[in-house]
C-alpha cells in the first residue's frame, strides 16, 4: 500500500496509523499527527486504519528559539 508520509511517497505495511509510527520508532507523544489535512487525536491512532493514498504528517515539536 502506498501512502504519503511527510510529503514522501512510501510503501508501507501495517493496519493503523499507530503501526506506521511504530515502524518508524516514533513515540506517539513526540508528534502531532495529521491525516489528510485534519488533526488526528492521539487516542484514535490505534483505531484509525491506513488507506491507500492517505497523506500522513508526523509533526514533531520544535521548541527552540533563543
Amino acid at each position: 500500500m502506498h501512502v504519503k508520509i511527510n510529503g514522501k511517497s512510501e510503501e508501507v505495511q501495517g493496519a493503523t496509523i499507530l503501526d506506521l509510527l511504530k515502524a518508524k520508532n516514533i513515540d506517539p507523544h513526540m508528534v502531532a499527527v495529521e491525516l489528510n489535512s485534519a488533526m488526528l487525536e492521539r487516542d484514535r491512532l490505534a483505531t484509525t486504519p491506513v488507506k491507500e493514498g492517505d497523506q500522513v504528517e508526523f509533526l514533531f515539536y520544535m521548541g527552540g528559539g533563543r
Binding site: H29, A32, E34, E41, F60, M62, G64, G65, R66
Partner: protein
C-alpha cells in the same frame, strides 16, 4: 503624521513599492510589535523591524547576554556579556534607527503579565526557547485577539506559522499540550545551527510586516518547515481543529495559566528568553 525628508530617503525602497508606498510606510510607523524573547529569533526580527521603521518595538526577556548566545543572537555583541538582553537590544535598535521607540521589559513572560502586555501591541512575535512559554504566548494572543507569528528552531530544522486567533489554526490546534518533560529536546540542550535563527527570525519579521500592511497572503493555516541540511522548505497545511482545547468547539482552557517549567539537563532557566 508627515515624514521628514530624511525619513523619506531612509524608507525610499519601501515607499517605491506599490504595495507599501507612503501610506503603507505610515502604517509601519504607527505599528506596535511585541517580541517575546530577545535571543536567536528575536535578534534578526528586531533588527529588520527596526530598519523597516516600526513605530514601537516591545522587548521582553529576563536574561543577561551569555557567551554561548553570541553564536546566533546577532543583536548582542561581545562587549554586552553580562548585560540585560533587552538593554543590549534596545541600544542596537536605536543606533540603527532612532525613529523606533523601544519599550523594554526585563522580566519573564508569565500568565500574570502576558495578557496586559500583549494587549498593548498589534502583532506578537514568538522568540522564546521553551514549550511552556510558546503555549502561553499562543493562549495570550487568543484571549487578547492579537495575531501571532510563531517560530521555532532546533538543530538543523526551523518552523514558522502565523496565527490569527479565531480565524486560523492556533498552536494548540496542532499541538494540544507541551510534550511530556524530557522527551523532546529544546535548543539549549540539543544545539542549533546559528544561521537558522536568522532564516526563521527574518521570515517572522516578514510576516509581521505583512500583517501590519495588510498585504499578501499570511502564513496562516500553514506551517512552513525548513531543513537546513537539504536547504528545503516544506509547507504543511493545517486548519482550525474543532477539538482544540483553546479555540475549538468545547474549549477546556478558559484562562491563562503557566505550564510546568521544562526540566532541562544543561540549563534550568526558562521563561522569556
Amino acid at each position: 503624521m508627515e515624514f521628514s525628508d530624511e525619513q523619506v530617503t531612509r524608507y525610499s525602497r519601501h515607499i517605491l513599492l506599490p504595495e507599501v508606498g507612503g501610506k503603507g510606510q505610515k502604517k509601519i510607523a504607527k505599528s506596535r510589535i511585541l517580541i517575546v524573547g530577545a535571543g536567536g529569533l528575536g535578534s534578526p526580527a528586531a533588527f529588520y523591524l527596526a530598519a523597516a521603521g516600526v513605530g514601537t518595538i516591545g522587548l521582553i526577556d529576563s536574561d543577561a547576554v551569555d557567551l554561548s548566545n553570541l553564536q546566533r543572537q546577532v543583536i548582542h555583541q561581545t562587549t554586552d556579556l553580562g548585560r540585560p538582553k533587552v538593554l543590549s537590544a534596545k541600544e542596537k535598535i536605536n543606533a540603527l534607527n532612532p525613529d523606533v521607540e523601544v519599550v523594554t521589559y526585563e522580566d519573564r513572560f508569565t500568565s500574570k503579565n502576558a495578557l496586559e502586555l500583549v494587549a498593548k501591541y498589534d502583532v506578537v512575535i514568538d522568540g522564546v526557547d521553551n514549550f511552556p512559554a510558546k503555549f502561553l504566548i499562543n493562549d495570550a494572543c487568543f484571549f487578547a485577539d492579537k495575531p501571532l507569528v510563531h517560530g521555532g528552531i532546533l538543530r538543523f530544522d526551523g518552523r514558522v506559522t502565523t496565527i490569527v486567533p479565531r480565524k486560523s489554526a492556533c498552536y494548540r490546534c496542532v499541538f494540544k499540550h507541551p510534550p511530556p518533560p524530557g522527551l523532546v529536546a529544546s535548543c539549549q540542550e540539543a544545539g542549533v545551527i546559528g544561521v537558522l535563527a536568522g532564516i526563521i527570525g527574518t521570515i517572522q519579521a516578514t510576516e509581521a510586516l505583512k500583517l501590519v500592511l495588510g498585504i499578501g497572503r499570511p502564513l496562516t493555516d500553514r506551517m512552513l518547515d525548513f531543513d537546513a541540511r537539504r536547504t528545503a522548505f516544506r509547507e504543511i497545511r493545517t486548519r482550525k481543529n474543532p477539538h482544540c482545547p483553546l479555540c475549538g468547539e468545547h474549549p477546556t482552557i478558559t484562562e491563562l495559566f503557566d505550564h510546568e517549567p521544562e526540566t532541562c539537563a544543561v540549563n534550568v532557566t526558562s521563561g522569556a528568553s
